[in-house]
């Protein structure tokens, strides 16, 4: 116990002596959270439009007006040449071309049906999908408006579908992303620092020095993990404060549960760092191995794309991904107010993963001699 205290003192002294690192560890994540949470959205606020109106009728102009009035579209250029429009798209001046064919107005009167052409720059896949959905919706609304003006009532015994969006009525994407980004931040910082901190002692030769002292393996590992575990929890708290007061992310569940789960999760995350440190000889290696593992874990975690959209094999693999379980848990507790019983299974998975990886890492450490 006394040895652990002595070693903990050493670790804390070393961590806090490097002012730059401490500043980096606290300032960077906050800045990132601010920047990334705002960046991580697929919503399209203003799309630049090229109008090719070959009809020049009141109806064709009305379609363009409706698009403009929505505030989501800005008419950048217009002409009657599709070639010029294409040119503008290739040069990225516009993201969408709205084509109104020559007989648009006449067709609408005669046959009550007409077609608007929408050409999108799908270089930016997500944005293109969203933009086309907006445009189609606005144009459909205009058609309904024409019906109403003409006194035509929709004939179907329409069913009134009332939609309620639970947990996020405004469909604010940030509420969804912020908890996930928080997880990413504590994972990257915790895992990388653990791996590099231990490998640094290897590189400097101090690890050999410690190995010939009576210092027990468990004490050494505990002294390495506890400070970084605490730092990661402090970082998470800071992140949660920013999430609450800057982004107004709802926190419907128990904060105690969030911290309890984070405490378990961080054992798993730091365990990965510890495991990597047994494989790597240099900090550069440690960083690359860790980065590689974290990258795969993050991409497969459901942070950016839903886990349930993945193919079956990937979903099975995701079961062994602690990041996935923790992101799921954070979102459930913070956004949906899930209780301990609701998240019991991801929490158990985190605990199991932590225990296994820690045991593996400690065993791997024992093998170092010989």
């Amino acid at each position: 116990m006394r040895t652990l205290r002595v070693m903990l003192k050493k670790e804390f002294l070393q961590i806090f002596r490097d002012r730059f690192m401490v500043a980096l560890m606290f300032v960077m994540p906050i800045v990132q959270l601010l920047l990334l949470s705002n960046a991580a959205t697929f919503e399209v606020k203003r799309a630049a439009v090229y109008v090719v109106d070959l009809d020049h009728s009141a109806t064709s102009r009305a379609v363009v007006d409706r698009l403009r009035a929505s505030g989501r579209f800005v008419i950048e250029e217009a002409s009657s040449s599709m070639t010029l429009a294409n040119e503008a798209m290739l040069a990225r001046r516009v993201g969408i071309i709205v084509g109104l064919p020559a007989d648009f107005g006449r067709d609408l009167v005669r046959t009550r049906a007409a077609t608007v052409q929408l050409v999108l720059n799908a270089e930016d896949g997500a944005a293109a999908g969203v933009t086309s959905a907006y445009a189609s919706r606005i144009i459909a609304a205009y058609a309904a408006e024409l019906d109403a003006a003409g006194g035509v009532r929709a004939a179907q015994p329409s069913i009134d579908v009332r939609v309620r969006n639970w947990y996020n009525p405004e469909l604010d994407y940030r509420d969804y992303m912020v908890p996930g980004i928080l997880v990413q931040l504590v994972t990257v910082v915790g895992t990388l620092l653990t791996a590099m901190n231990i490998v640094r002692e290897k590189e400097l030769g101090t690890l050999d020095q410690l190995s010939v002292t009576p210092l027990a393996r468990g004490t050494f590992i505990a002294a390495k993990l506890i400070p970084l575990w605490l730092l990661a929890l402090v970082e998470l708290s800071l992140g949660l404060v920013v999430a609450r007061y800057v982004f107004h992310v709802p926190m419907r569940g128990s904060i105690l549960l969030v911290f309890g789960a984070a405490a378990v999760y961080l054992v798993a995350a730091l365990g990965i760092g510890l495991f990597v440190s047994t494989l790597a000889a240099t900090q550069q290696q440690a960083m690359f191995i860790t980065f590689f593992i974290i990258m795969i874990y993050l991409l497969m975690s459901g942070l950016f794309t839903p886990v349930r959209s993945m193919p079956g094999w990937a979903q099975v693999l995701a079961q062994a991904n602690p990041v996935k379980h923790f992101i799921l848990l954070m979102r459930a507790v913070l956004l949906k107010g899930a209780s301990l019983r609701d998240v019991a299974s991801p929490l158990a998975a985190l605990g199991a993963f932590g225990a296994v990886i820690l045991a593996l890492a400690v065993r791997q450490y024992g093998r170092r001699v010989g």
Partner: protein, 248 residues
């Protein structure tokens, strides 16, 4: 020498890395209180041998006891009785002189009172009292080495292993360093030191010359020089190393 007085006893100690034999069946004894020099060119197997003796590396073959403990099966007891100073500087540069001493004192389970008294004694004897609060990284190399040696002796080990302790240090500091070694030996500490400075070998009670992982010569410097008909250990070494596969 009786068994009770043996500080180190190695029998057929061997270490292979793949097909390469770094240390090849070496057998030797070191008596308690001796200053034992372990000589060899770079790559002769000195560091491998020392790492086996302090329990950092498992022998492929053979056995050894240090301070009466087996280096494979009794590592834990062994570690309380030995001190080690590696080739590479092994104190923490980002901790102060005092913090380093307190750390190692704590690891060896010394009481706070012991740490306090030994720290001030150590700082006084090295003339470092004024620098106690300085970061170790800011000390000149010679001071760092002397400090590292003193820290390795802090818990009063029976045997201290020094792996090329004077590498890169000026001659005056080297002399001062050897004075520290003699002082430790005078207090009864066995000193096991590797070096490739041949003049340093003359200071040892006995020396062991390692060539290609095997012992080429073992005895007091005077006896070995007489036996090979040379004037200095340096000449002796050149003569022995001539047939080596691995040269400096």
């Amino acid at each position: 020498m009786t068994a009770g007085e043996l500080a180190i006893s190695a029998h057929g100690l061997t270490r292979r890395f793949g097909s390469f034999v770094a240390v090849d069946h070496i057998t030797f004894d070191v008596g308690a209180g001796e200053v034992f020099g372990f000589l060899g060119a770079n790559g002769a197997g000195k560091t491998t041998a020392i790492r086996m003796l302090i329990g950092l590396l498992a022998p492929s073959d053979g056995s050894a006891t240090v301070a009466g403990f087996d280096v494979v099966t009794q590592r834990a007891q062994l570690r309380r009785r030995i001190g080690y100073m590696s080739q590479r500087f092994s104190l923490y540069g980002d901790l102060t002189v005092r913090e380093n001493i307190e750390l190692y004192g704590g690891i060896y389970g010394l009481s706070d009172a012991d740490i306090d008294s030994r720290t001030s004694a150590l700082l006084d004897s090295l003339g470092l009292a004024r620098s106690a609060g300085d970061l170790v990284a800011t000390l000149p190399l010679g001071w760092k080495q002397k400090l590292a040696f003193s820290v390795a002796l802090l818990h009063e080990p029976a045997i201290v292993f020094l792996d090329e302790p004077t590498g890169g240090v000026d001659p005056i500091t080297r002399r001062q360093f050897w004075e520290l070694i003699y002082a430790a030996a005078a207090r009864g500490t066995t000193v096991f030191v590797t070096t490739h400075y041949m003049d340093e070998a003359e200071y040892c009670d006995r020396i062991c010359v390692l060539v290609d992982g095997t012992i080429a010569a073992l005895g007091t410097p005077a006896a070995l020089k007489a036996e090979h008909g040379v004037a200095t250990v340096d000449e002796l070494f050149v003569q022995l190393a001539r047939g080596a596969k691995v040269t400096a």
